[in-house]
Symmetry: C2
């Protein structure tokens, strides 16, 4: 157990819940902090996170999270802009774009930017398939249309504990925990 | 006629051609400069341009351009991320998303960031309709699926001179020229 209060910089309550559940035994307290920081337009999540970390030292220890869904048949769309695409065309838009597509493989990526005694980046990936319709009500974002490899259910049909055990964010958090000890 | 060499900061040759045609009588020379500058993720083009201008003084006089297509039925998608969406799902993706949509109004926005003796921003808008199929081979980007109000042809069915007279970019350039005199 660490005596620090870890700040999770996000405006996404769903992400915060996943962090809190996984990290609560390792920190004295975990707080959600909705602070606006610059996110650049880039091809990869790492670049977005590295740029954002430049400005945030004063709030350490903290984590920021940039995540995205990369669909192979759509050349990686919605990718780095997954949050914006969710706000506009949403899961329905993705299903429409994929309607006549049989090659439905995709991956979720999560990049955690961490500032503690030093700055680090931890990346997690989960591979899966875009379903043909929305299934489930748990989680957030694209969870209802993403079925991880090796499972019959979508992320939205899993509890956050179960999702955390196998997800891109869970994977990145494991790497963070290995690092902070 | 101005003795300056105006730099147009863009990697998009189509944009450069439009600037060159409209501004060539007002500047000694117009050069394309493909310099990487940070573009933030934001809700509006102005915000992206204002942020980018912070870093570019040393190359003055210059213009940068951020443009986007905002489709009403898709809550403004692809908007600020139009370039990325073009690279991934393209015009075909937009047509797929709009397939069963009868409300097809949209607008192109262009924001010019200018650094001369001072910094300024000029915004142009053109309103129009998303066509049901691609038409024309001129221009670039979403031009083949955008028919401006009051015209039967898409931007891709117009010469760049004709497009410049009525387009969002032409509109923004007029405001720039009014300013620089």
């Amino acid at each position: 157990m660490n005596n620090d209060v870890l700040k999770v910089m996000t405006s996404n309550r769903g992400k915060y819940v996943e962090y809190k559940k996984k990290l609560k035994d390792h920190y004295h307290k975990i707080e959600m902090m909705n602070l606006d920081y610059p996110e650049i337009q880039a091809d990869g999540l790492e670049e977005v996170v590295r740029f954002a970390l430049e400005d945030l030292e004063e709030h350490s220890p903290l984590i920021i999270d940039d995540s995205g869904l990369f669909i192979d048949a759509l050349d990686g769309f919605p990718g780095v802009y997954s949050a914006y695409v969710m706000k506009t065309i949403g899961c329905e838009g993705i299903l429409t774009l994929m309607k006549e597509e049989n090659h439905r493989s995709s991956r979720f990526e999560c990049v955690i930017g961490y500032i503690g005694r030093e700055k680090n980046i931890f990346k997690g990936i989960s591979k899966g398939t875009i379903t043909r319709e929305k299934r489930g009500t748990e989680g957030f974002g694209y969870d209802p249309i993403f079925r991880p490899d090796g499972f019959e259910r979508t992320y939205a049909e899993m509890s956050s504990e179960e999702k955390n055990r196998i997800s891109h964010r869970g994977d990145a958090m494991e790497k963070l925990l290995d690092f902070v000890g």
